[in-house]
């Protein structure tokens, strides 16, 4: 009689693992970096090869780091959201232009609008490695002390922004 319940029992076990497995999405491993100090870099900006930008420049207030590239279709999708967020002015967005060409990146920002307070140019992807970047787009939230508090993979939406980023910014704002 009870043998008929075996299939559903097996499924329950399988499902349990899959559920956990999904929360540990293999391409999604932000945990090692969260709570750690934001890796340093000093890169030229996209617009001006003579100007430098580094996370230190934004120390003292929470800021967002967005990894993007002109070759990435998903980045196109989140661009609207980024412009909206920069209009809100809650926190500055620093762009990290990853494995891209300077001219294409400049053209992109000119044509579509520039939501970034500054955009670092990382053609080799070395800074990306420090930040544990697997692909684009990825967005980080760094608090006023320069500690990474959140990482989001895949295009940023207003929903995720309001749910994950805004509360954390409000909680960690202003301290230095």
């Amino acid at each position: 009689m009870w043998r008929y319940a075996i299939p559903v029992a097996i499924f329950a076990v399988l499902f349990g693992f899959l559920f956990v497995g999904l929360n540990r999405d293999p391409s999604y491993v932000p945990s090692p970096l969260i709570g750690k100090h934001a890796p340093a870099f000093s890169l030229t900006t996209v617009e001006d090869p003579n100007k430098q930008v580094s996370p230190e420049d934004f120390h003292g207030k929470p800021f967002v780091l967005n990894v993007w590239g002109t070759w990435c279709a998903e980045c196109r999708r989140e661009h609207e959201t980024l412009l909206e967020i920069s209009r809100q002015g809650l926190a500055p967005i620093v762009g990290l232009n990853w494995k891209d060409e300077r001219e294409s990146a400049e053209q992109w920002l000119r044509q579509l609008g520039d939501p970034y307070a500054a955009t670092a140019f990382d053609p080799e992807g070395r800074a990306g490695i420090d930040w544990g970047v697997y692909g684009a787009p990825e967005t980080f939230l760094i608090d006023a002390n320069g500690v990474i508090v959140y990482k989001h993979i895949a295009p940023l939406t207003m929903e995720v922004w309001n749910r994950e980023f805004v509360p954390r910014i409000r909680a960690g704002g202003g301290r230095s």
Binding site: P32, G69, I129, G135
Partner: protein
């Protein structure tokens, strides 16, 4: 043979068959589970001897060297802390490129000199994508390096 004996023999045969099959299956499983190691793991000697495994990292720029006129190719896989030299004989996949992520499957022939002979080189994904295992291990070695630099 009585019907009862026949049935029992039948059952015994089936049990034996299943036991044998299970053993085969388990050993096939064990032999084919491939672990992934970073170049740092390899140089630290963490890889069990003689086993086939996968090593991944970035292809070091300027490290790809071809024997002229042959299919022998040598390149360095790095996680920016340690390097492993990979030797491969054959056609490399289309997406293989210096400065990109790569995973090689094979074995370590020279543990001292960290030379790895690959029987398969994978660079399957999108150009801009790095295999997660590679990115994660690269990150770990970076953190370890920074930690050791900070403590000196």
């Amino acid at each position: 043979m009585t019907p009862r004996r026949r049935r029992m023999m039948f059952v015994a045969l089936i049990v034996l068959g299943v036991a044998g099959a299970t053993t085969l299956a388990l050993s096939a499983f064990r032999d084919n589970v491939l672990y992934f190691y970073s170049p740092s793991d390899v140089t630290a000697g963490k890889v069990p001897a003689g086993r086939t495994f996968r090593v991944g990292g970035m292809v070091d720029k300027g490290s790809v060297m071809r024997e002229p006129g042959s299919l022998e190719v040598k390149f360095i896989v790095t996680d920016f802390a340690h390097d492993v030299t990979v030797k491969y004989s054959g056609v490399l996949p289309d997406l293989f490129r210096e400065g990109q992520g790569v995973i090689a499957r094979g074995r370590l022939v020279d543990p001292q000199g960290h030379v790895f002979v690959a029987d398969e080189v994978l660079a399957k994904h999108d150009e801009k994508y790095m295999p997660p295992e590679v990115a994660e291990s690269l990150k770990k070695t970076h953190e370890a390096q920074r930690a050791s630099r900070a403590s000196t």
